[in-house]
Symmetry: D2
Subunit: 461 residues, 4 copies
């Protein structure tokens, strides 16, 4: 199939044409990977049989060789014939072993013993090998940026309005902290996947025909794969392990979308405190050659809009009737795509963060716009603390007056007779801050340091 | 790319390996189709220029030839270089025309004049050529089934409990009626897509440099493509046209999911009133060779779970800041997939409906289980209508008595002295129905006929 | 119950403490309204019986009197006793009429004949009496604003970056157009609700015991209420009528959220082109007395986030097994709240629009920031049209040069030798626009006029 | 306000009219509770000031007295006047203390220091005092049921089709296991809420005017309330703490919905293995007095449909621009309702589980329907294990034959010459199971015991 015959943008565009992402994800999330992982589980099963001497070493060898020959295309052709995907795989393996070895392929297993365990395994491995490393790389680059800009004064914004001053490093530290916590959660969920070998309805019916201890045998097979069973299963593993994992994935996505939105807005023409780097041959717009658009930040937000709603599929897939209806069969096939999307977005965002252009002049310019009005907060708080009977209202009136007269709030305040007793009571540092608002950044710099240090240590970065 | 390197199941499985669906959808919904449609819009633009003699017929001819040479792969290569997809297309076309013709390629247009219009066009055409025909085919087969079974008595069910009798034809008529109404809605939405040629912010800024009547020119270009503009646009067409269309698509999906659920449950081992046909070589289960599973109905429900939540993406994409932020750029690339999913599901369901096995014996058997208790409703209603002072309570007590004693409700009722005066007042037909519950199907058969006739005529099937 | 014992913010805050909204909505959307509407349907049923002389005028009179006495509290008490809400209502009515009249209360009806019809009726009436009038009021105020500011130059923005110039009136016209179209859709959906009187499974079983023409009788009852039946029903009306209506409601909500977002961003400290009016005693922030926050615009967006996801409930409620499972019973009780939320938001937004402060000075200031760079677009387009072989690239280079040198783009361009031949070919108007970018607003003003005129006429405003 | 003037069903129906639920939840989730919790945080702040001797003990006493007088109604009246809810609370407190004590009310705090901390506190407490106890009660009753029925043979079902036998206890054990794991998650999330006292933008600007160690002071205040801060905050606490908690809540809801669906289907007329208990005066249907409907199970599923989609609101509320936009202000007010809904559903479900009617006769009857065909699985597996070259295909053919001839599968199999060598090789136990399928329940009973024991111990039930 021509790549451009595909319908899904991940396949024809974001993953399919990004060699770096492709080589990272293909071994875990592609359909060929699905088949390979299922074969690995079939292998683990035979391994355990050989260890218990239920089959011979020769049987095992034969089966290993047969499994290595399995190709996705062949499995699909067999499935076309018999309309059952796991049976197709089993047929292919059995076809290539002697009659003596045949019974030990898929021995006592039901399809979903293989599928659930294979899915758990590949989600675990893609997390360890790709997702978490990408999260950590992004984390390291965020920390670098935050530490580099920890003293760069920026006006803080709430309601889109200028509020108290902070530093740009502090701004980025928000994402250090939130992403750090998500790394812990993804790690926990990725380490908590479960497999199963409990048969068609979870009661080990078939297994019980041959084993006295089918639950122990299940543990042996799974241990080989680095997995364990849950306290109960039906035809399938309890859905909450994948659900919790995807919650960790989607909530990470949400943090990246928030960061992208923030940076996108900081790149607005009127604000322009930061911007994405711009390649030499890059075209900003087909008719406006001067445009520098935050296309990577926009992509991150847009991908979040495409993938976040898919959590709803997961919540619906919690419901499966009795020992399983199969209405989660197709829908669960879409799980890998969401993980691929997060990886795509992390690589993109990391590159943008690494090359972020910080415009210190504009940071200062914006800060100066409302610098004077910002004095309202410390002024009110200091007046109140020195027992002014109605500081909030007094300052509100002064700001209206300042606005009306065009004079600086503090000039008016310092000239206000009624306030003189209060100014006298203030400490030197308090007076200094009122006069020099750049110092009114509170603990922004220290918080940046503390938080970055904390997460670096916690995550061993 | 190997098809099994894909990550998305539509690409590697449902559409990508279904030659019938592939050939239907590739011309509209694949990425190559995207490029072809954009080229068609560029062509319509030059056509209109030639008609107004702004460019010459020779220019037009050159450009047509150049456009025919465009291939998705080349456009993507150029995009890799300059990071802008529409400009990439424009570059490719311009490269293959004389300097004289060059200016007329993409003349005064902005990228989204091309993209929005191309998207409108392909959604319109895939609807007319694929979606609506598939809906109608399914409709015809549903009507055939309903009419065939219009007199086949079935027990009606509410709360999963036996209620009043109906017919199986009446059961299927529910879907005739609901699907019929969706066809009207999809048709309406598909006929209501809008294009644009209003420039980078919707105010025809560039166009106004050359045309006195840019809004008229926009109409000319769009008319050629069978489209029209909305009353306003920004950089993009108002999102509600695609939104309403996808609401029509997703709400159609919901009806199919409901039908699939109903049939799935009717196939339960204990009910077994219908079943999917089963191919000769088909494997029911990898360990339970006797199983006949409703895999097609399960697939329909599962696909609905995968795609229904994507409406949330559309509702989020209604929001685009000012004359457009681009956070809907990636997310809107996923629209074709949802349409492909509905088509996949309709083809599958149609085949299942056409080959549906109706088990009349089981229908009768199930009806007989509660036949006697069902008499409670007409009994209560008739007693009430003949002025029994407390008919509902009386019948409730009789049913408890019947349950307890194991006697038939009506036997008990007919022997109850206090009820004799009421039985005497009943008409012959009323008494007959009480004695012969199979006749208590109300208007089920007539409703089936009326409804099927109505929709056949309305939709010219 | 104390209002502050409530848990839901609509009840204790947005609707419950807003006398204007409360008096508008209580008659349609409160639980007392639910009971009143059910009683109205019971009444319509008896009315039709009297018209057909199945019951006498005296029976009718008795029942009318009994229905008028029904109070929500009493119905709930009876429900507590018998655990069935419609039967509770029926009991209360029957208790207050003579034995002769009793049978005609709820005659042949099933609970959901009453509930579905009552719901259709109240949704229809709240739409006609409250929702559509509020939409139109907002529309009128938007049109007024757009027309007033149709010539006020504003810089257009895409990607949050300055793009081509427009006017503020044109900006608001986007919402005139989108909201106008939603009014049509809400109106259509509100005029398309359906009732039913087809009994427990939709086959008119009970009705058929007494009527030869139960479908005609159903139409008579519904016609009295201004409703009609669908082509099929089960125990319930097909869910798509309410679904389509809520799609219209939620997609309206999305447009308001977009408008609120736009205005919120235009109120940013650095942009400040508009702002919400600010009451005299209003407190902007508990510690920053000077803040003027866009709290109404924020509320609109936030309410959208609270209510938009509920469409998913509606899409799930499309699925109801067989002739109905009751898993949509509780969930459908939440429908009125979404309508109330939209009304709340429309009243709030309308007030904010009416009192919107437009800061012309800042509009001009912002426009001037990039005025020079904006010339890039017309320059490129004009050069291209006069056969410059590579206009886009040339202008891109000039903008980089302008940026680097600090000179104005057009100054550099006009001095560029290679461009002289092209400038000479330009018309006077083209040259004027290059020199005077305020004129480069395209059709912004005319589009505003046309669009406002169109919708005023279409909606008879 | 009359309770029936409310619009939201939780307020007027599920919580508002359920005295038991009302008394449990009102202290935490009502709007009066909101105010009380905010006052508690204001108090903790003053307490810490007094401990540091920044204010005197007399000041503290005055403020405590003033805080005790605060009523929701008064706060709302003040908010009506000044349009700011926290400032309204602060005004009320300050009004009732001496001028000397006034400055210490809300000292250096920003509104969201109070709101975020109050929310964290009440979510923590409602979890500890209501949510977790209700989960555990349900857990205990599920374990009782599972253990009681651990040996009651039930046919297992996959695809709605009879599969391998299990026991009804094993069926319920699925929910013991899944719910057990959710209890751990809710507990973890409930123990992980964070408060803040870091000021308007999270940088402790105001606090830094007075404290050298504002981060230490924050910890002191929070410790008093049993909370701690996160590694970073802006105007608000990082949204992921509430998000994770609600994921735990909603995923619990999903498990209950699954259980309700299972039980609902087991109550179908044709299956009837279990049923909800039915009150004496209860009305099943307004026209079908005999109906016994699974109304509680339906309610659980329906409530899940109403509340599950609200997770989307939470995922959207992860995004807040810069140091906070306020578009999460209204939407977060809806959080308590979702918790109330889960509690409502747990109480309802627990009652239904406690009174569940298990129909052993029907369990046996259903098992017998397909008992013979079920033998297919062990037969196939045993044949395969004894080296039958194509066991799966052979058994598939035998089942078709059995179906066709009406004979029992095993009778046919035991008479099949080609199979005799294999039967001879089987162990006695294997042969017994083939002849007595009731024994083919695998480890169902043991698994029930193990799993129930595990969770009882783990959760100290």
């Amino acid at each position: 199939m021509d790549i451009f015959d595909n319908i899904n943008p991940m396949d024809f565009r974001y993953y399919g044409r990004n060699p770096d992402l492709f080589s990272k994800l293909q071994p875990y999330l592609s359909e060929s990977a699905t088949i390979r992982y299922m074969a690995r589980v079939e292998l683990a099963l035979v391994n355990a049989l050989a260890r218990r001497k239920i089959c011979s070493k020769d049987d095992l060898k034969e089966i290993i060789t047969a499994i290595e020959k399995v190709r996705a295309g062949n499995v699909y052709e067999e499935e076309d014939r018999i309309k059952h995907n796991v049976r197709a795989l089993v047929n292919l393996i059995r076809k290539n072993v002697s009659d003596r070895a045949k019974p030990f392929v898929h021995f006592t297993a039901t399809s979903h013993d293989i599928i659930c365990t294979a899915d758990a395994l590949r989600l675990k491995e893609v997390s360890e090998k790709v997702v978490l490393p990408l999260m950590k790389t992004l984390m390291v680059d965020l920390i670098d940026l935050a530490m580099k800009e920890k003293d760069t004064v920026q006006i803080g914004r709430t309601h889109g309005q200028h509020a108290d001053p902070i530093t740009f490093g502090f701004t980025m530290t928000e994402y250090v902290s939130r992403l750090g916590r998500r790394i812990l959660r993804v790690k926990h969920a990725a380490g908590n996947f479960r497999g199963k070998l409990s048969g068609a309805v979870g009661a080990y019916n078939a297994q019980s025909l041959f084993f006295d201890d089918p639950m122990k045998f299940e543990k042996e097979v799974l241990r080989d794969l680095g997995l364990k069973p849950s306290t109960h299963s039906t035809q399938i593993v309890e859905p909450e392990f994948v659900l919790d994992y995807l919650h960790a994935i989607i909530s990470t996505f949400g943090i990246l979308a928030n960061m992208a939105d923030d940076l996108r807005h900081l790149q607005r023409s009127e604000i322009a405190e930061i911007s994405e780097a711009f390649a030499k041959k890059q075209v900003g717009s087909s008719t406006m050659p001067h445009k520098r658009n935050p296309i990577n930040f926009e992509n991150v937000k847009s991908m979040w809009k495409a993938y976040m709603p898919r959590m709803t599929t997961q919540y619906m897939d919690q419901i499966s009737e009795h020992q399983r209806d199969l209405t989660n069969s197709a829908s669960q096939r879409y799980v890998p795509e969401t993980i691929a999307a997060l990886c795509s977005v992390m690589m993109r965002l990391d590159k943008a963060i690494k090359n972020l252009v910080v415009d210190k002049e504009n940071l200062r310019k914006n800060f100066n716009i409302t610098k004077d009005m910002i004095a309202a907060e410390p002024l009110y708080i200091l007046l109140a603390s020195y027992n002014h009977p109605d500081a909030h209202e007094k300052v509100r009136e002064l700001t209206l007056l300042a606005e009306k007269s065009g004079n600086r709030l503090l000039d008016i305040a310092f000239r206000d007779d009624s306030l003189q007793p209060y100014f006298k009571k203030m400490t030197k540092r308090q007076q200094d801050i009122l006069k020099n608002l750049e110092q009114y950044t509170g603990m922004a710099s220290k918080k940046t340091e503390d938080c970055c240090k904390f997460w670096k240590k916690k995550l061993k970065l």
